[in-house]
């Protein structure tokens, strides 16, 4: 490995300097400002805001709905990834491209579309209303929106690992007498589980911060259908910047912890695959 001093390529100082300057101006300094701003609050004020009944209800709903949405995506996303890698069927390429739609579609569009679809007079809500199931403007609606935006994560993390899986492992299991289910459950699934967990964590993290797709389908009633980003937004709309900042700091700390967990998962996943698939 060549040291930077004797590299013949130019531009190290220029590009590193520019990278750090731009990163600091756009990301690091504004983020640091949030933490500094929150330190202007006394501990009593801070804890009154972040442990208020309304905030606690919002955390519960945010975590619960995000977890459920990521779990449902884990199950169905795994099947979609499996089908896309292993089987051939008509329209496979289109389905593959369409999986990224929740990333490409602006969240506001997703929000109004889902709210309209699942409203009692909507295409899907109209079917569910006679059964007594209300989706739009309820907690169930929040879950539907979070499932929509988290859909691509599991598919896109499992897909490449599944595609790279060596068929010899399955052949070995089969020739040693395992039936297909045993081969899947004992050989294939353990090899995919780090990728599956990474996808789950990514979908969960995205759902926790989601705003645009939820704001339309949720009725935004405190204690009932208000997730944390909606609560922060309503504090900002009321010019309650100190309260909004305190809540934002809690969410930022949770995001950083999740980012750390995802990094560790990814590190484990790479090492796991390196030792098992080498």
């Amino acid at each position: 490995m060549a040291k930077k001093q004797n590299s013949v390529l130019p531009g190290f100082r220029l590009t590193l300097g520019y990278t750090l300057l731009y990163l600091s101006l756009i990301v690091l300094i504004p983020l640091a400002a949030t933490f500094v701003k929150s330190s202007e609050l006394s501990w009593a004020e801070f804890s009154r805001t972040v442990f208020s009944p309304q905030a606690l209800a919002a955390y519960r709903l945010s975590f619960g709905a995000s977890f459920l949405a990521a779990a449902v995506n884990g199950f169905f996303g795994f099947i979609v990834a499996w089908v896309l890698v292993r089987y051939d069927f008509f329209g496979k390429r289109i389905v593959d491209a369409l999986v990224d739609l929740p990333f490409a579609l602006p969240t506001a569009v997703a929000g109004i579309t889902l709210a309209t679809l699942y409203a009692p007079n909507g295409w899907l809500g109209g079917w569910l209303a006679p059964l007594g199931i209300k989706v739009s403007y309820t907690q169930l609606g929040i879950f539907v929106a979070l499932t929509f935006i988290g859909l691509p994560f599991i598919v896109r993390t499992v897909q490449p690992v599944l595609a790279d899986l060596d068929s010899e492992l399955e052949e070995a299991a089969a020739s040693l007498g395992a039936n297909r289910w045993q081969t899947f459950w004992r050989v294939i699934f353990p090899l995919l589980s780090p990728a599956l967990l990474t996808g789950f964590a990514l979908a969960f993290a995205r759902a926790l911060g989601e705003y645009g797709s939820v704001v339309f389908i949720s009725s935004n009633i405190p204690m009932k259908t208000q997730i944390v980003p909606l609560l922060i937004m309503s504090e900002l709309d009321g010019f309650q910047y100190a309260k909004a900042t305190a809540l934002a700091v809690v969410m930022l700390v949770i995001s950083f912890l999740l980012l750390l967990a995802i990094n560790l998962l990814q590190w484990w996943s790479n090492r796991y695959n390196a030792t098992n698939l080498a």
């Binding site: 590299s7 190290f12 990278t19 999986v99 990224d100 490409a104 602006p106 896109r156 934002a248």
Partner: protein
């Protein structure tokens, strides 16, 4: 393993046909329910009042000004993030220095932050009660509830897109070709323009496509800093919200259909670039952490 090998393999290393059909059916039903039905309903709702109303909504001066502002925000943020992406990828992929993993994680930060918080951080700095608030008011400069705030928020949320696409690509390519160019007498710029850029053009294009899609569609962060002044600080997604909340549902969907078309064009271009250049995997859309590689 090729697809043909999979199909012709003995049953024990594949699933019985019944199971295959069942799994395909479940996957397609899930995709249809969550992706295809919403997609179709956007256009159905948009055209509910007929084509006349549809085009009238799109020609409305408020819609036109929202489109203009969205184009301005994307035209500023995409090139700046592109420049940053190339600089960051060059420094990370071509040189060794301590703290590289920390730098990679920091570049990813905007992905893990809620859009609402992404907008809020600029309000805390440039807003009336913010750090520079009094100074800005004194000098009559508006950033929050004005166009500069919208551009800043857009830059923040699209910050990692190009960098994420180029870093793994340039790491995989290594630096031998650039070193050869230097040894043969090319200067730094010549090396970059004639050797590096042709190698990374598809990755760069890919990053730009994804970055642009997010820049034009961002809602949460922009919503915090916009102030929602029709005709002045309204982007397309914010205009969708205003129409929807004023109960002009067909109008909201007519404007939303523009963003949906943008999303479909983005997916088509993305698939085309993937087809032209194997090895690109859209890491900007699925933010799996980037890892330092030994050069």
């Amino acid at each position: 393993m090729t697809d043909d090998a999979k199909i012709n393999a003995p049953r024990r290393i594949s699933e019985p046909p019944v199971v295959r059909c069942l799994l395909i059916a479940v996957a397609l039903a899930f995709i249809a329910l969550f992706l295809v039905v919403p997609l179709l309903s956007v256009f159905a709702e948009a055209l509910r009042q007929g084509f006349g109303f549809y085009f009238q909504t799109l020609r409305d001066p408020m819609t036109v000004s929202a489109i203009e502002l969205t184009l301005i925000a994307a035209a500023i943020s995409v090139p700046l993030n592109c420049l940053f992406g190339v600089a960051a990828a060059w420094t990370i992929a071509k040189f060794d220095f301590p703290g590289k993993n920390i730098l990679l994680t920091l570049i990813d930060l905007p992905f893990s932050i809620s859009p609402v918080i992404s907008g809020m951080i600029y309000v805390l700095i440039f807003g009336a009660q913010g750090w520079f608030g009094p100074w800005l008011i004194e000098h009559n400069i508006r950033i929050i509830f004005a166009v500069p705030g919208i551009v800043l928020a857009t830059m923040f949320v699209t910050f990692p897109f190009v960098a994420r696409e180029l870093i793994p690509l340039m790491q995989a390519q290594g630096r031998t070709e650039e070193e050869a160019a230097r040894v043969l007498g090319a200067n730094g710029w010549q090396t970059f323009w004639r050797v590096t850029l042709p190698n990374i053009k598809w990755g760069l294009l890919y990053g730009v496509i994804l970055c642009n899609a997010r820049a034009m569609g961002e809602f949460g962060a922009v919503s915090v800093v916009s102030g929602h002044i029709q005709g002045q600080t309204n982007t397309i997604p914010l205009h969708v919200q205003i129409l929807y909340e004023s109960n002009n549902i067909p109008g909201a969907f007519a404007v939303a259909s523009l963003l949906t078309l943008l999303a479909l064009v983005t997916l088509a271009l993305k698939t085309w670039v993937e087809y032209k250049s194997t090895g690109l995997r859209g890491t900007a859309f699925t933010p799996v952490p980037l890892k330092k590689r030994p050069n």
